[in-house]
Amino acid sequence: MTDEPSRITEATVVELRELMGRYPQARSALIPMLHLVQSVDGCVSDTGVQLCADLLGISANEVLGVATFYTMFKRRPAGQHHIGICRTALCAVLGGDLIWDEVREKLGLEDGETTPDGKFSLEGIQCNAACDFAPVMTVDWEFMDNMTPERAAAIIDYLSANQPVRATRGPILAGFRASERVLAGFPDGKADEGPGAGEASVRGTRIAAINRWVAPLGVPIPGVTERSAGDA
């Protein structure tokens, strides 16, 4: 399926083996392993499929069966930046469809395609669990909340010009492959970037704080220092 030669090296194999060692049964590592393959090759390459199969002692078809089941696994290389636009009902109605048209037109891409220069790929995604920030866009699986067509276009322009763009809840976008590496289970040290939660996430917490609404304290239990969380 893949045209480009694989960039998998011996170092990748070492890391794949490390992933296998993290589970009681090595096959459990298959999804993380495929994420790692994507972090190297930009997709689940044929080389990666065979390598995972060989390492796990299963057939390549079993690996392929898994790789084609999960939408995050690509059989053709994703772009340097992978753009997802939520197409499920709520985001679509709230404006996601307009963003979709804008981005599709701007990049000249249909669902699942990658620009010829390999810079961007586009995917219509399903609900990404950020409905309170709708319409939702993702870039490299980082949240780009409360999107508008104009902002989406601007983000693409910045990224095209290699200007830094920060996720609304997360770090500066570092590319599809970098995110895939984190997904594989190799942290990038950026956990502390961005807010604790977004504006919408803390809405209730803030309303409660303003109104001094707290959950009642419990009956003191011997041995447990009682302190209301709200006192923190």
Binding site: R22, P24, R27, S28, I31, P32, H35, G65, Y70, F73, R87, T88, A89, L90, A92, V93, L94, G95, L98, D111, G124, Q126, C127, N128, A129, C131, D132, A134, T138, F143, P149, E150, R169, V182, G185, A191, G194, G196, A197, S201, V202, R203, G204, T205, A208, A209, N211, W213, A215, P216, G218, V219, I221, V224, T225, R227, S228, A229, G230, A232
Partner: protein, 449 residues
């Protein structure tokens, strides 16, 4: 005593500076619940959780303590706890902010639950498309190891416990617990035949408990403050408080932690009401798989029992509000496309039924419907409902049939006119788009592929 309209417990520290750090969490009484639990016999922890009335937050609302008690005692046999953070039900957006803002709630909850069921190995399965959430959880687990909270001596007690953070790769069906186990074993995430139930033969064929993220996160407070404290909130059959997620055409969408039994009207008010100049058309009480409610049900107490009595399901407590600009055909079609894409493809009724329904709803939305399509939709739904292995198909059947029942005339209008004429789509958008060329064009959903 009177209970406040909002009762931040899980959400209490979300707005604190660096809320996700261990230090922040600890300074807010973090790990007190686990400290207490680990000094109790495991059976007593289960009893405490049973007494609290805690019910699973993943949608089905099964009593958590009861689920735990199905795990055979069998000492020496490996047992597993899997925390289900595959949050994918449309409209549901509580677990991701929870993991991002307060991941230690889940780490602590996992220690409590793992200890209670005798598991020494915990997997936190997080959907893959949310990389920053994963970072926070990876870091929280690493912090917990560094602080000696995890490992050979959990929180200083002679009980080894390890947590592995695992990212999924995009599959709604993996929220179903047996599909999740298959996925965690490195397979296509297809639901398993039951029996055997996971409590007897789950991950690697060993006794396994799969609990939702919010369920696990609820444990620290219950253990720290006691079952009786928790049981004072909520309703008779739905005890405690929970996170309600409000989204859609409301002024201030967000997460609202309130006791069970709070009405949608109360929550809607807290969210600033429907956006200015518009009025409510319909809402989902618990995600897209739950039958639609309208204004008439705004005062239904949002408890498992009351919502069921009103003909829907509390589900994941994901309230998606849509105003009068919204075409129900458009939402139905998009949700139908969601289910068709997410069906695992194994069972005929789900695979083929979603294919067919998607086409029928699509042509109605486009104003190309044929007389009888509406009846046909209901009939197909009848042929699909209850005929499949897992509840995914029942979810879309509930969604579609409730939409038809509540808004039949709108469906029938699809015999003649496109929904986009009756409900110009740009009016539903929450922004005013400057790129009018795009905005004025009718956006069509994905063609049946």
């Amino acid at each position: 005593m009177s209970i406040a309209p909002l009762t931040p417990i899980l959400t209490a520290t979300w707005d604190a500076p660096r809320s996700w750090k261990l230090d922040t969490y600890r300074s807010a009484n973090g790990y007190a619940g686990a400290t207490r639990a680990l000094r109790m016999p495991a059976a007593q922890v289960i009893d405490e959780v049973k007494a609290s009335g805690l019910r699973g937050r993943g949608g089905a609302g099964f009593p958590t303590g009861t689920k735990w008690s199905f795990v055979p005692a069998a000492p020496g046999q490996p047992k597993y706890l899997v925390v289900n953070c595959d949050e994918s039900e449309p409209g549901t957006c509580k677990d991701m902010p929870l993991l991002m803002a307060s991941p230690h709630l889940v780490v602590e909850g996992a220690i409590i639950a793992g200890y209670a069921i005798g598991a020494h190995r915990v997997f936190i399965y997080i959907r893959g498309e949310v990389v920053h959430v994963l970072r926070r959880v990876q870091q929280a687990v690493a912090e917990a190891y560094q602080a000696g909270l995890l490992g050979p001596r959990t929180m200083g007690v002679e009980y080894p416990l390890d947590i592995t953070v695992h990212a999924g790769a995009g599959a709604y069906i993996c929220g179903e617990e047996t599909a999740l186990l298959d996925s965690l074993e490195g397979r296509r995430g297809q639901p398993r035949s039951r029996p055997p139930f996971p409590a007897v033969a789950g991950l690697y064929g060993q006794p396994t408990v799969v609990n939702n993220c919010e369920t696990i996160a609820s444990l620290p407070a219950i253990l720290a403050r006691g079952a009786a404290w928790y049981a004072q909130f909520g309703t008779e059959q739905s005890k405690g408080a929970t996170i309600y997620s409000l989204s859609g055409h409301v002024r201030f969408p967000g997460q609202f932690e309130a006791p069970f039994g709070t009405t949608a009207r109360t929550l809607l008010e807290l969210a600033g009401g429907i956006r200015e100049g518009h009025k409510l058309k319909f809402f989902t009480p618990g995600g897209s798989s739950t039958p639609l409610f309208t204004e008439e049900q705004l005062d239904v107490p949002l408890s498992y029992e009351a919502v069921a009595d009103a003909g829907s399901m509390l589900g994941t407590k994901a309230l998606q509000f849509f105003d009068e600009t919204t075409s129900v055909l458009r939402t139905t079609r998009r949700w139908m496309e969601f289910y068709a894409a997410e069906s695992c493809g194994k069972c005929t009724p789900c695979r083929e039924g979603s294919w067919w329904l998607r086409q029928l709803v699509a042509r109605l939305e486009e104003g190309r419907g044929k007389e009888g399509d509406v009846e046909r939709i209901l009939d197909i739904c009848g042929n699909v409902s209850g005929k499949t292995f897992c509840p995914l198909a029942d979810g879309f059947v509930a969604m579609v049939t409730s939409a038809v029942r509540q808004f039949r005339s709108e469906f029938e209008a699809g015999y003649r006119r496109p929904a986009s004429e009756l409900f110009p789509y740009e009016r539903s958008a929450v922004f005013k788009s400057a790129t009018s060329a795009v905005a004025s064009r009718t956006t069509r959903g994905g063609e049946a592929r």
